[in-house]
Subunit: 312 residues, 4 copies
């Protein structure tokens, strides 16, 4: 379950209220503000606040007195220019805040992005819910045999069934024992009035890394794009990538011009090394370039060939 | 002149537009949004955007699903608690953006606060205006004789007149020569069609540090309070303190509960060292404590006595 | 086991090598460089590199050309002054790097300090060892009845025994199943040649938060002191505080003058709110001040009385 | 003059002292440690401390117990891999500290890099020296007619002579008046015992932006590379680029393997947008691609043609 009916009602009540503001608004983002966007089996993202839109980037770049935007086309051109030439500071001028529910092992990867603000639900103070992540059948992958840090084929048959069985059993057991150690039932009542119950800050250590946590996470548009360029990338682990992909959709609603520029220059772009650039020039000139003659390692060469859509 | 009539008109036009939003708004801050608040002879601050209000702090601390606030009193109590116990992350969840016009030597102090986003008017790209700071008569201070990094009495008479004369003459000369080197008059026309004009990125070096620049500056509430605790402090140089004091007023409008807590715990609070705390305990117990017996240096002792409102 | 004999041998081999350098060295820290300092049942900290010592703070504050230090006494006085007046930037000029082995739930608190550099052992790439934290008998605490975020008395008797039993059993089970899902035995051989094995990046989610991880963690002296002031504090959870206390000892060896100043001004110091300062002044004047007359909340008043060593 | 004889003597004295350390050392960097590397007419950089070398990157990536390096070739391969795949955190594990003397207008660009530590010479506390930057004849450039943020041809003849005359005259005048306002001569004696002298924090505002300041500046290898990729770039203003180029040489001495990787992947590399990559693929396939058919703007197309060494 992604949210309880009570939480859903709280969210809906908040969506009903509107206010008058002199600030720039992003109509596309207002439409989905506060709404739960489900991710994985129990997780979600939802945008809970934002500041600025595409015009905030343009205004800051121009240090404007008024609205500061010109024709839509001129603004888009400026945004393209800024992104292409790595003038990143104007993109720091727009800000977005998410409420995210995610498995702890995903949270541990996510938190490595330090240029963001975070408030996480405290398991020192409160008791975590009995919700843990179990991969969907198609996401239950074998270890890759070519990449130590990646996945291979999907597991099937008995092996898949056994893995499910183990993941579910261990998570259920660890939660049941968490409750027993806390000496609290689901309603917060003591299981055994004669016991004191282990401190919450200690009992939580019994939970496994697939349990869900949640946090408020706030960052600016520049750092959001950096996060997305790494985490919506095919090399990212599936379980964080699917969050990044959902956030990419919210970015499209929020700042459509910056989104287009991002997709063109970053997300869909590619980087050439000095040796790679030399090889590309020779290929364009019609030369027959081989890995041996390129000065590049085999791995690097195959990465280049893949980027160019050629056979190595 | 703080802004030109054209700039004033742009600002007013922006103030006339209002939008509907689902986001939290701060009515006190909306009232003055975009308005110029004059500082020094030609400078200003104006709030150009914000995200969140006191409730954003409370929501993040509670990782709420809905509006997340309780009774006003409960919220204020939580904000007090968070600030008192240095739980600073919830204060990062509200954001504010200023447009600031300020002398370059003030900008050089200001920029040392790194946890903020900045877009400054570019003198590589554009030509700076002919506006420079001259202290008001009462702010023209002599070097302090007791504090190498501070001011003493106000200069008067011939010495004051002479200082004014020098500051004005040199600034005017440097601007006239800046224009001559650029080979541009006030209207952007060449002064001499036969000359090329020095590159802007070079010509600017002839301007003195009292010329005005401007920037968009954005930070979160936690880092704003850190800035204000250092810069609205009596040890800060007057020319930056007066900006900080104007910002303190905008903070009061924006987040009144956090403002009250800030004034009580930080701005009006005091720090005791281990030795200072020991001395205070003895003083409360009615003992007669002297500097010699306190283990503190003379300077430290006199700082403590000043904090306690006692003669050293 | 804190380290294996092979790791111990690697460390010893590294300790045997010395080099000649023109850089400042800290003799006290060189003595213990690379050595394992055990923390908790399997964890440790060890200092693996550093840059600068007390003199780096002094040199930077003076922007010196040469060694830049004066008499030892003058340096200590400057360091005291800088720390007392929150001139924090010179303390950023010395740097220290630790190798830390710690339970995952401790790592999750630790990582919230963002102004540091971190490289963590990757469980996407490698397989974690079978080592998990079990509290010592005296650290197995009940939930506090007065502080939702704290510990009460130590559990004893049957309840303690049962908690141990559950923590150990669940951790052992989760590791056994981790290995089964990976399809690897302790030597890295397949348990069952007919199975593919679950991807490492997925299997790790079955481990509980008391399993040990490790990382390289690097920060500067200013941010180290901030970390220590929060984590070597009595409000910090015991399992992170004991790491902070071990680090405090390394700081004492590294920068003895800064350490003394830190203990006096920060670690052993106290903060007074505006209302708290007013109350202290009245107490020193011999007035009878009560909570009701202080303008402070009950909780705040009792915190002040505790700081002053008085009964509330 | 880059340094005074007294400063030179202090530096030499410090270079004579050597210490024994267990830390990794960089022999190439030790050779030039503390030495002044002149930049511009009075400026310099000098490396005053460092932590780690190439092996620090490798150790952190491997979370090693001992020295952690393998064959030189294996280490270089790992460093190449890390840089190519944007695994940037291991590069944060090595640190370098510079003492830099630079014109204030250059310092204002430099300080925009926020992920560094800085201690600047204080003109509130001390008096600046009478040293200002005058461009060499070949660096006195006209405003570019094609790029609003750039330089065109070198000025010559009467115009060059006039610019020199103005820059020199105004700087000399502003310094003379700075001294008069301070009421101090070169030896620190009052010019007129009957005057108080203007506060230093005010008098400094009369100096122009070409006066030299100096600071200690410390950053890690990752952020150094980011700084160098932007500031040793041809789009950077000459006066900061020449500092970056001097620093690039120190980087080569310090971490030769990382330097090689940096030159190949970043400094000499290039970025392709999604549309640019599509155009490259078509060019390699022998198609005749034009700007109109590429979906790229004219400016973007000409940038791509320049990168590929083709006529637009």
């Amino acid at each position: 379950m992604h949210v309880t009916p009570e939480q859903e009602a709280e969210i809906e009540a908040q969506r009903q209220e509107t206010f008058s503001t002199r600030r720039s608004t992003s109509p596309g983002l207002e439409e989905i503000l506060y709404q739960v966007i489900p991710v994985l089996d129990h997780g979600f993202i939802r945008v809970v606040d934002y500041m600025g839109d595409d015009s905030a980037v343009v205004q800051a770049a121009r240090v404007s007195y008024g609205r500061g935007t010109k024709a839509v086309r001129g603004d888009a051109g400026l945004i393209n220019y800024l992104l292409r030439h790595r003038h990143t500071t104007p993109f720091e001028m727009a800000e977005i805040k998410y409420h995210v529910k995610l498995p702890i092992f995903v949270a541990r990867q996510w938190i490595r992005h330090r240029t963001a603000s975070v408030n996480e639900y405290s398991a020192r103070y409160s008791i975590l819910d009995n919700e843990f992540y179990l991969p969907a059948a198609e996401d239950l992958a074998a270890q890759s045999t070519v990449n130590r840090q990646g996945r291979g084929e999907t597991l099937t048959g008995d092996e898949a069934a056994r893995v499910y069985e183990l993941l579910r059993r261990d998570a259920e057991q660890s939660y049941a024992d968490y409750q027993e150690m806390l000496n609290e039932d689901d309603g917060g009542e003591p299981l055994d009035p004669g016991r004191q119950g282990l401190a919450r800050e200690l009992a939580r250590m019994n939970l496994s890394l697939n349990f869900y946590t949640q946090w408020y996470w706030k960052t600016d548009l520049h750092n959001l794009m950096h996060f997305l360029s790494l985490r919506a990338d095919e090399h990212a682990q599936f379980e964080i990538r699917i969050y990044a992909e959902a956030m990419l959709e919210t970015m499209k609603r929020w700042v459509p011009q910056t989104y287009d520029a991002f997709v063109n220059y970053r997300h869909g772009g590619a980087h050439l090394s000095s040796k790679g650039l030399a090889a590309v020039k020779r290929l364009i000139a019609g030369e027959d370039v081989s890995q041996a003659g390129s000065g590049m390692s085999k791995r690097e060469w195959s990465e280049l060939m893949e980027m160019l859509g050629r056979e190595g």
